[in-house]
């Protein structure tokens, strides 16, 4: 029974990671860049929900507003900070991403102050079931992330835009020659990634109502790790990696002697997995043509 509860907790932590990891993986797969500012888009999403709730009082309206804001923010960041550097060294883009991350964090502190905000979205209560007490938000989060992952997979597989995304991720130059507007596709990717960040923001607030400007930093890194474990660039991989990380975290936290080392354990697992499978669990193995 204990173990099942731990497992459910793990799934709950994991589905949030998965949601963030999906954003990372989409952007990485297509724009080939590590968007270190992704975690901070989540934070902005969180604040937008907070603002929406204060203004309208309606959780759904404020959430939709947050999604919209995040999408606009994602597109703006891409346009201002990343697009001018297309074709430059990927490391340069990495650095601007870090710059954007600092920028968002300090702007948030300037606007909303240093004190964390408490955001109560809706008290969904607990589900009592066979001796288990499971908070309903866990079920909501899990369900949402599975639905989103499936939708995203189908989108990429069956729509014109989705297939264009695959083409861009394989070879930007060739995609351009085939008449695909690469800039547009990358913009759409950022829009989707940032929209997902708003979802992640919602999930995190449902779980822990405290909102501060560092909300997205550590989950961002953990989710990035999750994306790499699953095989960066792969949508199911991001999901798998996220859930794996969450479960490991939950189990490790319940074992007292190793609990303080939880972060370390997650990273050790990452290293082991990468040593066995250098491109992650579901990552495609690529070879250079010789």
């Amino acid at each position: 029974m204990e173990f099942i509860e731990t497992l459910i907790n793990g799934l709950s932590i994991g589905s949030t990671y998965a949601m963030i990891a999906l954003g990372y993986t989409m952007v990485y797969g297509i724009a080939k860049m590590l968007n270190f500012a992704h975690g901070d888009v989540i934070m902005v999403g969180g604040y937008m929900i907070y603002v929406g709730l204060t203004v309208s009082g309606n959780p759904i309206i404020s959430f939709l507003a947050a999604v919209l804001c995040c999408i606009v923010l994602g597109i703006t960041i891409e346009k201002v900070a990343y697009r001018p550097l297309r074709g430059a060294s990927p490391l340069a883009v990495l650095i601007t991403a870090i710059g954007v991350s600092y920028l968002l964090q300090s702007s948030a502190q300037m606007i909303f102050g240093s004190a964390p905000k408490m955001v109560t979205i809706a008290d969904l209560g607990n589900l009592k079931f066979a001796g288990l007490s499971i908070p309903v938000y866990i079920i909501v989060t899990l369900g949402c992330s599975v639905v989103i992952m499936t939708a995203l997979s189908l989108f990429v597989k069956y729509t014109r835009t989705g297939r264009a995304m695959i083409a861009v991720s394989e070879d930007k130059g060739a995609a351009q020659l085939m008449g695909i507007n690469v800039n547009r596709i990358i913009m759409i990717t950022f829009a989707i990634g940032s929209g997902l960040a708003a979802f992640a923001g919602l999930f995190m607030l449902m779980k822990s109502p405290s909102l501060s400007n560092t909300l997205g930093a550590m989950p961002g890194i953990k989710a990035f790790t999750a994306a790499v474990i699953g095989g960066i660039g792969s949508i199911p991989g991001a999901m798998l990696g996220g859930i794996l990380m969450g479960v490991v975290e939950a189990i490790s936290l319940t074992v007292p002697p190793v609990a303080p080392y939880t972060d370390a354990i997650e990273f050790i697992i990452l290293i082991i997995i990468l040593l066995v499978r250098p491109t992650g669990i579901l990552g495609k193995k690529r070879r250079e043509k010789v």
Partner: protein
């Protein structure tokens, strides 16, 4: 072509550096040109712990403004300089040096414990007196120039354990932040002083974790949970524990809990009893604490209202009245007095049984080591529903 830009930047850098180095003339007489008494403090004004630093900055500024409005010390005004260390000990040295070179004479030390140790060691070399509002590390008052307005961590842990021993429990939960000096400091003393017949169930977290479901699972059968942590993670824990930890359980924290009530729009959403060991009651309805709360809330809102600020407010006044007492005793405190000379005066005053009453307690005294002696009260922030 990049490197050319670099050359330009380098030239600019060299120029700026030369100017900044040239600006300082050398010599230790930094206070010679002071026209006000300068109080310095280093605290986290940005980053994850900013809420504590900002509270200290706001409150100290409020106290300084009040003193100045009332005419300062014999007509000489005070000035507060608050530098940002983002809770990072390595930033303290630069802050300390720049404040000292900027004419700092009195200091509130640091806001948090980690940087506080660094600060103590730096300031003891120059003999700069500090009375820290909230750096509660046990080692800090060991420095001859260091005094605390808050309880030392070890003391809190001991007092908390003594209280728990009287409750007659057989098992309690302990939830703490394993990578935090404050949390560990209290926890250690707490466990050492706890009745050996009481078993403890422990759960820990690190960093800026925001999902405590696993820890809550571990602690779910405990009816009494000791939480020597700051209020932000505590609020998350309590929200997430709703419905899992029994409604009649008790959450018991230390002074870090203060500010918790302000976190919730409606504190009654937490079914359990929440109480704390503290020197400041933000729910006070009368007395100096209530006055402080009213003034602070009016100026800065309730977001950053916590005992850090209250303590800082007291610190400024305690220093002010100490100066007043010194002058009454016939000491001279010119506005250009050096930090070291002033420190000698302060140490003499504080060691000779100086008593202060303020927001965080009445008849506060300090022992020869610099540990504060004042009433620690168990405040019930919220009764069980």
């Amino acid at each position: 072509m990049k490197s050319n830009f670099k050359k330009l930047a380098a030239a600019a850098l060299a120029l700026v550096m030369v100017f900044s180095f040239a600006a300082c003339s050398g010599g230790a007489d930094y206070t010679a040109e002071n026209t006000e008494y300068i109080i310095g403090v280093s605290g986290p004004l940005t980053g994850g712990a900013a809420v504590y630093g900002v509270a200290v900055q706001n409150s100290a500024q409020m106290a300084v403004d009040e003193i100045n409005a009332a005419g300062g010390l014999n007509g000489v005004m005070f000035k507060l300089v608050a530098t940002d260390d983002t809770h990072d000990a390595t930033k303290v040295a630069a802050n300390y040096a720049s404040m000292l070179e900027g004419g700092m004479q009195i200091s509130l030390g640091t806001v948090t414990t980690g940087p506080g140790l660094e600060y103590s060691k730096l300031s003891v070399e120059d003999n700069v007196f500090f009375l820290t509002p909230s750096a509660s590390g046990d080692k800090i008052p060991e420095f001859v120039n260091g005094y605390q307005m808050c309880f030392a961590d070890g003391n809190q842990g001991k007092v908390a354990a003594e209280y728990v021993n009287t409750l007659g429990l057989s098992e309690i939960g302990v939830f703490y932040k394993s990578d935090d000096a404050y949390s560990n400091g209290i926890c250690e003393q707490f466990k050492d002083n706890l009745d050996p017949s009481i078993t403890t169930v422990e759960a820990v977290f690190t960093g800026e974790a925001s999902d405590f479901s696993s820890q809550i699972s571990t602690l779910k059968n405990c009816s009494f949970i000791f939480m020597p942590i700051y209020y932000q993670p505590a609020s998350i824990f309590m929200t997430q524990a709703k419905g899992i930890i029994a409604d009649d359980a008790v959450y018991y924290g230390c002074d870090g809990f203060d500010g918790l009530a302000g976190q919730f729009e409606d504190f009654s959403v937490i079914p359990q009893e929440v109480s704390m060991l503290s020197h400041f009651d933000s729910n006070a309805t009368e007395g100096p604490a209530a006055e402080y709360v009213a003034k602070y809330t009016e100026k800065f809102g309730s977001d950053t209202l916590n005992q850090f600020g209250a303590s800082a407010y007291d610190c400024v006044y305690a220093l002010y009245y100490a100066m007043v007492e010194a002058i009454e005793e016939g000491k001279e405190i010119p506005v250009t007095i050096s930090a070291s000379d002033l420190s000698d005066i302060f140490i003499e005053i504080f060691e000779s049984g100086y008593t202060f009453s303020g927001v965080t307690g009445e008849n506060i005294t300090w022992d020869e080591n610099g540990y504060v002696a004042k009433g620690a009260v168990k405040y019930t922030l919220k009764e069980a529903n």
